[in-house]
């Protein structure tokens, strides 16, 4: 009986939390299972990597990306054949650009 009450309380709590979760904005009501970085953040990283690699930015292309936590992303880049990794936050501030060995 006691465990049933506990389950009921837990279920009610979860339902309450679910109900309190705010829905995404209309323009954000689509996604794919691939949690890539927003396109503008990928390009901010490409620009930063061009400076680090000292190559023309038209030769730097993001090749993959992923969300690290609620406020930052990791972006892998190809800069004229050399590989780099960039960490950028959701405000567009580049935290690091490192060559990948």
């Amino acid at each position: 009986m006691r465990s049933k009450r506990w389950l009921l309380a837990a279920g009610t709590g979860l339902a309450f939390l679910g109900g309190c979760q705010s829905p995404p904005k209309p323009e954000e009501m689509a996604r794919t299972s691939l949690q890539t970085a927003p396109a503008d953040l990928q390009l901010i990283c490409a620009n930063a990597a061009a400076g680090t690699a000292q190559v023309d930015s038209s030769k730097v292309l993001p090749t993959s990306s992923r969300q690290l936590d609620a406020a930052s992303y990791s972006v892998d880049l190809d800069a004229g054949g050399r590989k780099f990794n960039c960490i950028v936050d959701s405000n567009g501030s580049v935290k690091s650009v490192q060559p990948i060995a």
């Binding site: 829905p23 009501m29 689509a30 996604r31 794919t32 691939l34 890539t36 927003p38 390009l43």
Partner: protein, 219 residues
């Protein structure tokens, strides 16, 4: 370029852009009624479009914040998330929903708009002509019009001076926007591709982002 070579390129491009639809859709849309994310595949997309006569809101044309050093007029394609951005002044972009290449047909790169066309002609590739009597009657080219699979406008993507055989074009299947459906071309609904065409200049830079791309162009 010889006439035969140009015809060959046109046929190859038509085959690439309009290949069989075998999408492995990973797209999800948020159902405001059930407050849940639900898979959005070809069947659901068609049902949604039939019910609402428009796409889900996220895939409709809209102005969004877009922080970039790229100059206004640049096109950025996010193939994974099914969006095309046209960079505007003031840290903004016009965002359009797109359909992209299905698994194994995605590509990425930095290219440019080499030329554009209004109501482009579509020429089915020889293998489609051989198996499909409807396509066979257009073996010499289907004139542009509302039934033409390339839709209302086409932007031909070039790598330097060479045609990549990939295009940004309209569609007669607007419900496929938001899905991985093509053989590499970028499809938009006809209103959107007409709007984009009216704003873009020949020579505009086009950056195509696609994680898991099978092919790279221009880098």
């Amino acid at each position: 370029m010889t006439r035969a070579r140009r015809l060959g390129l046109v046929m190859l491009a038509a085959g690439l852009c309009l290949g069989p639809l075998a999408a492995l859709a990973q797209t999800q849309i948020y159902d405001a009624r059930t407050k849940k994310w639900v898979n959005y595949d070809k069947k659901k997309a068609r049902q949604y479009y039939a019910r609402n006569n428009q796409l889900p809101e996220a895939f409709r044309r809209q102005v969004v914040t877009f922080r970039t050093a790229e100059k206004p007029g640049t096109i950025i394609i996010d193939g994974n998330q099914h969006f095309l951005y046209l960079v505007q002044p003031g840290g903004q972009a016009i965002r359009y929903g797109i359909g992209v290449g299905r698994e194994g047909f995605g590509w990425a790169g930095i290219v440019r708009v080499g030329r554009t066309a209004e109501w482009p002609t579509w020429t089915p590739p020889p293998e489609m002509v051989a198996r499909d009597p409807n396509a066979a009657k257009w073996a010499a080219g289907m004139p542009g019009g509302p039934d033409n699979p390339l839709g209302a406008r086409a932007l031909y993507l070039y790598e330097g001076d060479a045609d990549t055989i990939y295009r940004i074009h309209g569609t007669v299947e607007p419900w496929t926007i938001g899905l991985d459906v093509s053989s590499g071309c970028i499809r938009m609904n006809n209103d959107d591709v007409t709007d984009l065409h009216s704003r873009v200049e020949v020579g505009a830079k086009v950056i195509v982002l696609m994680q898991g791309a099978a092919l790279y162009k221009g880098v």
